[in-house]
Symmetry: C2
Subunit: 601 residues, 2 copies
């Protein structure tokens, strides 16, 4: 199997040359850190990826979780990895030190998640979910809940989950019906069913804690009556023992990919003995969940980009090794064949993958930077970065989720017939990566979030801030002769984004919400291409600087490669906004008018 799954060089380029992660250490919150620590963390993550995660990638896929006697059995390497995660402080690595975390900048934590996802996405999900669940308890839970759960979760002994979905409530989370009945002892009695819950039961941990949405008896209907609970599989009793909490696994899903991680149906309270503990205030559960959602959604983007990175390096290796055909300008059949990387069409496929992976990653790190700024700053500045992060989150989730499917598909195509077979891990990547437009809010939901909510927030303030950020990059780039035409191309695209947005917001005031949001998914795609083009221009400013400094030959090759990938994006991907803008400006309600009865035959 190909050894390489991420480019360490590119990670460091983004972290230090583009986003200057080290500058975060000037703020009191991150003052205990420095570049050496960051480097060590990244190198350790790469080592864990290589030594523990990667060797089990195909193994975990071919030996998916089994449901035996009411218990889920997972691949033995999960336990090894979770132990490593616990001992190394990987779970809650960005949580405050006072909570037992490492207080690591999100930018560094995200870099590590990208590495782990690239090495073995299914394995990565276990600690990631625990991290997210612990974060909810950390921010909204009582001291008692924190003390009971967080240390066990950070140590990797207990698994955490996010338990939202129910049979009748997937995208429409306000329709959950799991009931929580208050008792005089302080806990609630839980009854209901959940489906599609990742890592919700397995034998690599001694306990599982579900951060579960439920409805307190008598709560108002819809999203305003949803509360958050901690519902363990085994509840800690007074004497320190663990008592079964009537959380039952009804079955496992058999999935297209992402097979190393179990997804189950759960049934709570079959014997009327399932207890849950309220996290935060009643009826605010969804708001709490959504405060965490930014991070979860960015994790999805990282997961998609990670898988596509791995597929890309497998394809790159193959294209360098595989002789097939001759140059178009030299068809003499008596000459030896050339490696397929010599064919322009193959280079195009590789550049596409690199443009998507590295462009997505840049956008994700931009979001991480905003998240870190939100943490270290206060007042108006804090709000600014918070708004930018909120605006870009659906884009940073969906652009990688959608485009990395195409990227992995191109990787598979590079390998031809071999790509379709399981000798190489690309066919697995192709199956794994398909989950991302579905979980943590489908692409359709993200589109409505972006156009229906985020660009309208505070009278469009977030959107204005975003335009300012992009304009700053354009202004700087325009003054560099080699970049003038690209700066102008992005400026035109931004002009188009403004025009389309204004037009759609006008539609919102004059027509039904159906017509307004009918093409929200296309708007999201449109916004995504422009955002990633911006990120390529951001990167190229650092590349220009580095090339001017006269780098070594090897370093120069790296920068030249980035430069070509930047050009690729601007010449092959950015033009796609033209067709999208044309359609978005129509806003004619075509799909709204398509009557259900016309789908008859």
């Amino acid at each position: 199997m190909a050894e390489k799954f991420v480019s360490e060089r590119n990670l460091k380029f983004l972290l230090y040359e583009v986003f200057d992660a080290t500058s975060l250490t000037q703020y009191p919150y991150y003052k205990e850190h420095n570049r050496d620590i960051f480097d060590m963390v990244i190198e350790t993550a790469l080592k864990i990826g290589k030594d523990i995660l990667r060797p089990n990638l195909q193994e975990m896929d071919k030996n998916p979780p089994q449901y035996v006697d009411g218990q889920v059995r997972v691949h033995p390497s999960v336990k090894t990895f979770l132990k490593e995660c616990g001992e190394g402080g990987w779970i809650g690595s960005n949580a405050p030190v006072e909570m037992g975390g490492q207080q690591l900048p999100l930018m560094i934590a995200f870099a590590c998640r990208f590495i782990f996802s690239a090495a073995n996405y299914s394995a990565m999900v276990y600690p990631l979910l625990t991290d997210g669940a612990a974060h909810l308890i950390e921010v909204f839970g009582t001291d008692e809940l924190r003390e009971t759960y967080i240390p066990k979760m950070f140590s990797g002994e207990w698994q955490g989950t996010m338990a939202l979905t129910e049979p009748q409530a997937g995208s429409s989370v306000g329709d959950i019906t799991t009931v929580a009945e208050p008792t005089e002892e302080g806990y609630y009695v839980i009854r209901g069913q959940k489906i599609f819950i990742s890592a919700s039961d397995h034998d690599a941990v001694e306990n599982v804690v579900h951060l579960m949405l439920a409805r307190i008896k008598g709560a108002p209907p819809g999203v305003k009556g949803v509360s958050l609970f901690a519902v363990p599989k085994f509840r800690p009793s007074g004497n320190g023992e663990l008592v079964f909490n009537d959380v039952n696994i009804a079955g496992l899903y058999h999935k297209l990919g992402y097979r190393g991680s179990p997804i189950t149906q759960m049934s709570m309270g079959e014997n009327n003995d399932c207890r849950g503990w309220l996290v935060g205030e009643p009826n605010k559960g969804l708001a709490y969940m959504f405060q965490m959602m930014n991070e979860q959604r960015i994790d999805v983007g990282l997961g998609a980009a990670g898988i596509a990175s791995s597929a890309y390096y497998t394809a790159l290796d193959y294209c360098k090794e595989r002789p097939q055909g001759r140059r178009l300008s030299d068809k003499d059949p008596s000459k030896p064949q050339v490696p397929i990387i010599e064919h322009p069409d193959v280079k195009r496929m590789l550049l596409f993958q690199r443009a998507i992976v590295e462009g997505s990653l840049s956008l994700l790190f931009q979001c991480a930077m905003y998240a870190d700024m939100e943490i270290v700053l206060t007042g108006e500045e804090k709000e600014k970065y918070s708004l930018l992060l909120d605006l870009l989150t659906p884009v940073a989730k969906s652009y990688p989720a959608e485009m990395c499917i195409l990227s992995v598909s191109q990787a598979l195509q590079c390998l031809g017939g071999y790509g379709y077979c399981d000798e190489f891990p690309v066919e697995q990547h192709y199956r794994d990566v398909r989950i991302h437009p579905i979980h943590e809010g489908t692409t359709g939901i993200q589109g409505q979030d972006l156009l229906g909510r985020k660009v309208r927030v505070k009278d469009g303030k977030a959107f204005e801030l975003f335009l300012e950020q992009v304009q700053k990059t354009i202004t700087t780039a325009r003054d560099i002769p080699e970049l003038t035409s690209h700066a102008e191309a992005l400026e035109n695209a931004i002009g188009s984004l403004k025009q389309v947005t204004a037009h759609l917001l006008d539609v919102a005031t004059k027509q039904s919400p159906e017509v307004f949001l009918a093409d929200a998914t296309l708007y999201l795609e449109f916004f995504g291409i422009i955002s990633v083009a911006w990120q390529w221009l951001v990167q190229v400013l650092s590349i220009q600087k580095a090339l001017e400094a006269g780098p070594s030959k090897h370093e120069s090759q790296f920068y030249q490669g980035k430069l070509y990938t930047f050009r690729y994006f601007f010449h092959y991907e950015l033009p796609k906004v033209e067709g999208l803008a044309k359609r978005l400006l129509e806003a004619d309600g075509l799909t709204v008018g398509m009557n259900k009865s016309f789908f008859t035959d």
Copy 2:
């Protein structure tokens, strides 16, 4: 599982209302047929699809072929199906009666292949390959070869294959090294290896006949030294017995999808006892193969469209049944949820699938019509249709192959988390459909075929004929007020196609073939969108006519659905040509300049 996998109504619309298949019976070659026969054939195909193929779709996927003791074992239903195919005359259905065929128009034969592919693609491949192999023997073989092989192949007792690919010769088929040494007995002794050979060995037949490319000892290098042989697994001996012909199976590939059909590695002549019989003249093997290739490539398009059709109807069923969320204009959580087909974004996803499936199918039937015209006509008229068919074949292969992947992916997305699990067949469709851009010439190869060869054939005559055909449709449509704007949109796109093509042909005269063909894949995509837009306009002319005749309510719903799908294509898909044209007009050799060494990190 969803019952419906194709729309019989739409098939009949295309066959009779759009392409007037019945008109073929006016020609002597098809004079024994009539509409009743065609209908009966279609209905029988639907019945076989429903009763024999469909029930084994998931079964065959979950129980893929096994390699046991040097023999490949396949699902028992393959034998049932092949028996049915043999008895019903489905293999060689379009072969001449004098050869034992049904002399059925290709249009009808293709409709049936589409039905079978939609029901169960893997199963469909068995008779399809036999059909293609028999066709080679029929056209190029000696009477002795015909008598020996064709009856056994048409009866389904013997499997046929196309054995081209070798470890060092995939896309570069001129690099094959399998050797054929002449003997005085008339046969050749074959030695070599083949890989990725579909249906090349299995226990549902008593013999397998490989139509194999090999190089006669001393033949010139490259494509000019490739000959075609019939190489059976068991060779018929003088006394009618079958003798093992030293064709050995070295192993099976484990594939992403298309798992019901075995793909093997083969080794011929391990004991120096593999005999092959020359088909046609020496060194013309590739030319023979390519004469058959049009049909093979159109079959790939049909296979892709078939799978996407099946996925679409599963998604449609689900969307009509699955309640989730409320109308955007009515968010009252106390009201019941609505079926997701009510959401414009879901209707958009369904319209996309329908636009791709029905648009692809129309283009494929257009090609079938050209193929039939080529058969029934003579002289200049014959040549005209032959040129049109040649030109459109790479498009009719690749547009469905590429777009149906996206179509099935949207079907999967309609089902959300359920789409990612194996309760529904969509995740299998998603795996199955991914083979199509790979086999029978990758998309990259098709792009080079279209731009590098087909549009330049006979000084661009084929391309001119194509433009004429499209212009005729535009001219008719422009006079219908409801279609004027769409006719103009297509006219603009055609203008852009002419401009891009002229520009690229100019590049060909001034720059290297590398620069000329660097974006041939994009050109193919561009050409494909325009061709399918044309086909939607062709369809809509028939729709207008039908609607004017005042159809029944049910019929009217069908036509209205088609009308919306037509509009969808013109408003969502056709605008994509704008970005593609922009890029194609650059022709700046960007990918050519990307040095291999820049792919270092």
